[in-house]
Symmetry: C2
Subunit: 470 residues, 2 copies
């Protein structure tokens, strides 16, 4: 351990730390291994020490001490991100917020809480309090934190109704601590929210959140099967455009992915079945069944409120979003994925085009979401990985067709996004993290303003791989 | 009074009846006088007697007795319809459901109630019970009944989020009594709902309703002004497409209507100001204000949660939907209106076109609503009435441009709708009202299946006007 890091660790001795090397290694990792590219680049990364603050005051102390000793600080919610967001690129301190998990206030339509609470615990609290729940959640609801979702996620279950986290109104207020000689505590609303939301903790640490709530219902979880893929895509698109039928999830999984990868669903379908996963409000079930009755091409094979399956499939949302990739990977380790944006109004045509060109090498997995008021699709396509060159070619084919790709095989904010500087985030980092110690290596434009995105970005100061270091 | 009618009245003597002639006349009328055309045609209509049943059992008795004596029955909620829906075209019995106003059950997301409850009382009950309210309501919330809304209305405040009453999921279940020798009680769900919803009580009487609920919030009511009309239309369209900002109302009123007709708003605007009326969820106010900040062309002049106006304008929704027409009519009795459908995606272009062609003879009043998943506009245009010919020409101009018109100057279901038979309603009337006694004269295709819609339909059996009868 470098002396400055050791000094910081010692100066923080009164705050809870993890000493077990296995724990330190575990807390230095996330789901980066989804990507063969990131797996290769980041597998060796490890924090020098892990600190578990209990309060905003302790967060401030961690940041002040690490600032004084020039020690990088990478914040950790639960480490379920899958671009290595929570991994310490050049060691130093991992700050784990699991002890900051209280709910402060619940009001009609909003909640105020700490960042380290699990999504499921936050929902349980709001539901018990007043029949409410958060508008949207990552499919890692059972394991991820709200702070990590806001700082690292984009949307998920609920986005079919409420759009994405970045949309105005989906975050009300964030309280943020800076990493300066004397850390400041700031409150952001409105336009200022974009500075730190989805910024991977590179320019401030969120210590309190105020978020909108929606009513909590006993969502009916449903699987519907079709013989034809485009039938399923059209069915889902049309269903999600039914204004009176309240949905929380509408996913499409191209055959044979459901048969091959969804073991508990397999006994109930055939290899040629495309599957649709849904969450429908109980009071919308009549409307849904009426809609279904108009679509003989679609058959309901499962509903959670009246199931005759021997083994429950578990929550249907744990088949959606990035859980689809996880299930596929578990059965076929050569699978990886891409994130695609199929924008309205070309979404269905684009999906058909990409599928015609690439299935079954690339299997369609779609999530219906609202984009600027219209139902469209996010694609989390399952890709049979062969070579990096072929993956790049597949990306190019999408982009040439007009389907925007958010590359999940990159660890920087810009490369996973629109490949350009987010000025608001960059400018705020200048103010809030003058030494560049917060989650270093994740903001290209901080380190290399003139980067051209032709190749994958390689953070120069990243801890070298052991063999390279030898 | 004809002997058969007198006999029915006598046979129903044990059920509460109104005997005061002024009451009978009042309960034979609705807001038909909005339309100079309907005013002329229907002003003389009057029931022979008015009965006020207290229960479904009493409704059954009214229908059985009137069936036996061949007496027409026109059901009345609160008589706020404005196409003469609740007016007895050939006398007979008006059955007023005001005593059937109980709420039976409230659950998360749904309510079961009787038809005669006022919308405002239903909302108050659901809010007190569990912070819920109905998804959408007519702007006559304070005076209209839920049964009348479902049987006679189409949508309203809330349609910007939930679409129209006819959309799947916006009605769960209706319990309906038929008018046969032995009335039957039927329960309708799903596809069957279309038989009796928006059927003006022509083929069955609704005695119980099950409806979806939404969370009740302390909606912030807002007025925003712009100098340019199309700026206001675009602002409203864009705002209503913000997925994270929860709205309940978004109306646009072309200048100088707000200045001329909205007396309490007048001191705060100029004649050239186009006005936007909004209801925004309190927890969406930050998002709304951020959106507003991006639109310097729009200035907020009123918000109900922080008003500095000397006199409150009252509920903002009472400026919207058909209340706009009411306010205009009170000040300028030569005003009438049209109902226009500006469908997505041409809605803004169509609106601009009609305005260029017709303003200020026709002033735009727009309500943002969801239609098949997309924000579009319902127009309730204010028309300076000159002649019937000119009104017909204005209707034709809209239709030629592709803006569908729902003619509010007609008393039949078909003429106020798509000018064709609703087979489901017609077929159910054959079953449920074999003698054609329920609200006679309102279903063209029942009386005159081959009607060609070239001229206004004239119900042959309608009580003749006094002068004609003399
Ligand atoms: C199977 C699977 C499914 C997934 N599904 C989805 C999905 O549906 N939608 C989605 O958006 N994502 C999804 N993800 C990605 C990820 O799980 C989510 O973004 C998740 O919410 C992250 O939460 P976390 O607590 O694990 O955050 P972490 O992984 O611990 O952190 C995420 C990022 O936020 C930063 N961070 C954490 N807390 C703070 C804080 N308080 N202040 C500042 N920065 C902070 C971290 O430094 C890191 O950069 C999925 C991942 C997996 C593995
Ligand atoms: C100022 C103004 C604003 C308005 N705004 C709107 C609006 O925003 N949206 C909208 O949709 N309408 C609107 N309307 C029209 C009307 O107010 C609504 O449709 C209202 O909900 C009707 O309710 P009511 O109780 O007055 O019904 P009524 O006028 O009494 O009845 C309406 C129709 O339903 C039938 N009916 C009533 N109860 C039953 C029953 N239990 N079973 C079977 N049939 C029955 C009647 O016979 C009649 O044909 C407006 C009208 C006015 C005057």
């Amino acid at each position: 351990m470098q002396p400055n890091i050791a000094a910081a660790k010692a100066a923080l001795a009164h705050i809870e730390q993890d000493e077990n090397p296995a724990t330190i290694r575990a807390k230095s990792r996330d789901f980066f291994w989804y990507s063969p590219v990131l797996k290769d680049a980041m597998d060796h990364l490890e924090a020098d020490f892990v600190v578990n603050p209990k309060s905003e005051a302790e967060v401030i102390e961690v940041l002040r001490v690490c600032y004084a000793h020039d020690v990088p600080v990478t914040t950790r919610g639960a480490g379920t991100g899958n671009y290595g967001q929570a991994m310490p690129m050049r060691g130093g301190c991992v700050m784990h917020l699991r002890h900051m998990a209280s709910v402060r206030e619940v009001h009609p339509g909003r909640v105020i809480c700490e960042p380290g609470i699990l999504l499921k615990d936050l929902d349980a609290h709001c539901k018990a309090h007043s029949g409410q729940e958060i508008r949207m959640f990552s499919s890692t609801w059972a394991t991820a934190t709200i702070g990590g979702f806001i700082a690292g996620g984009s949307g998920g279950v609920g986005s079919v109704h409420w759009g994405s986290l970045r949309d105005l109104g989906n975050i009300i207020r964030l309280r943020v601590v800076t990493m300066e000689e004397e850390p400041r505590v700031l409150e952001f609303r409105g336009e200022e929210l974009a500075r730190v939301s989805h910024a991977y903790g590179t320019n401030g640490i969120i210590t309190e959140l105020e978020l909108p709530l929606a009513p909590a219902y006993d969502w009916v979880e449903i699987f519907v099967a079709t013989k034809d893929f485009m039938d399923a895509a059209r069915f889902t698109d049309k269903l999600a455009n039914q204004d009176g039928i309240l949905l929380k999830l509408a996913s499409v999984y191209e055959a044979p992915a459901p048969f091959d990868y969804f073991t508990r669903v397999k006994p109930h379908i055939e290899a040629g079945d495309t599957l649709i996963g849904l969450m429908v409000a109980p009071h919308s079930m009549d409307g849904f069944l009426t809609f279904l009755g108009r679509h003989p091409e679609a058959r309901m094979i499962y509903r959670s409120d009246a199931s005759d399956w021997d083994r429950t499939p578990g929550p249907v949302f744990e088949y959606g979003w990035n859980h689809t990739t996880l299930r596929a990977l578990k059965i076929d380790p050569s699978i990886t994925y891409l994130q695609v944006r199929y924008g309205f109004p070309e979404h269905l045509a684009l999906i058909e085009k990409m599928r015609d060109a690439l299935s079954p090498e690339v299997l369609q997995h779609l999530e219906a979401i609202k984009m600027e008021g219209k139902i469209a699709f996010a694609g989390l396509s399952l890709v049979k990985f062969t070579t990096q060159e072929r993956l790049d070619e597949i990306v190019r084919m999408h982009e040439e067709a007009g389907a925007m790709i958010f590359n999940p095989h990159r660890y920087t904010l810009e490369e996973g996004g629109r490949q350009s500087a987010d000025k608001r985030q960059l400018e705020f980092k200048r103010e809030a993290d003058p030494k560049g110690l917060l989650n270093p290596g994740k903001m290209v434009t901080w380190d290399t303003p003139d980067f051209d995105y032709a190749q994958m970005y390689r953070y120069a100061a990243m801890t070298p791989k052991p063999e390279a270091a030898e």
